[in-house]
């Protein structure tokens, strides 16, 4: 987290140095600050921040892609007369165990159209998910575990 603050500080310094307080200039400063931190990554002990930023970006991009694809799928089902849904409630065993990881995972599952997380079991081992398109429960579980959960764990672990 300290590195993030340092990166923001570098970006603000860049903004003042160039005397331009536009938003795009902050982004430029952030990128330049990140490059500087990347070059000096062996100087400090913790190198986690550097390796995590690309993973966070890849998770966000993957999530946006899933969001768009699933939205189009659901939209197609809404505007065409036939219902193609195969709804199910699936018990998804969780590998993540911290509260905030479960929250983020459940939020991402709910935001992906067609799936809605209903509840977490009291011992936090199973997430119950309602999904509109389940042809094979095992395959569905594998998709979530290899997609969202694995990417999330790479960041938080």
């Amino acid at each position: 987290m300290n590195k993030l603050l340092l990166n923001i500080l570098l970006a603000i310094t860049w903004m003042f140095l160039t005397g331009d307080l536009e938003f795009m200039n902050f982004v430029e400063g952030f990128v330049i600050g990140f490059v500087i931190l990347w070059i000096s990554r062996y100087a400090s002990e913790s190198t986690k921040y550097i390796s995590k930023v690309p993973k966070v970006i890849s998770l966000v991009l993957y999530f946006l892609y899933e969001l768009l694809v699933a939205n189009i799928k659901v939209a197609y089902d809404i505007i065409t007369p036939r219902h193609r849904m195969k709804p199910s409630i699936i018990a998804l065993p969780l590998s993540v165990d911290k509260d905030f990881e479960i929250t983020i995972l459940a939020n991402m599952i709910t935001l992906t159209p067609g799936t809605l997380s209903l509840d977490v079991s009291s011992d936090k081992k199973i997430l119950y998910v309602h999904s509109m398109y389940v042809s094979d429960p095992e395959k569905f579980k594998k998709e979530i575990k290899n997609g969202f959960e694995r990417r999330l764990m790479e960041i938080t672990r």
């Binding site: 768009l68 939209a75 809404i78 849904m85 199910s88 018990a91 709910t110 119950y128 309602h130």
Partner: protein, 116 residues
Amino acid sequence: MKEFISVILVITGSLFILISAIGMLRMPDLYMRMSATTKAATLGVGFVLLGTAIHFWEVGIVSRSLIIISFLMLTAPVAAHMIGRAAYFDGVPLWKETIHDELQGKYDEETHELKS
């Protein structure tokens, strides 16, 4: 060019909101209605806000619309999840063509505890 992009974004956003409104009417049970409305509406509002941000292209407006989008993405699923959970608890029936219901019989009626 900026004008063009913002117009496209606003139109796409409104289309998604329209589709989610139709989905509200057409989907056969509550859970799928929740699925259809929360997500499409979130994406739609997100697109409209992005379009506004690009149209004005000022620090204050861009940052505010980005913050609204992130709060929307943080809160909308929580609301959907609470409504879905309450509905299941109250015994709102699933659609007749629902294939699996792995949640059936897992709730403790008295303590509201959920078995794994």
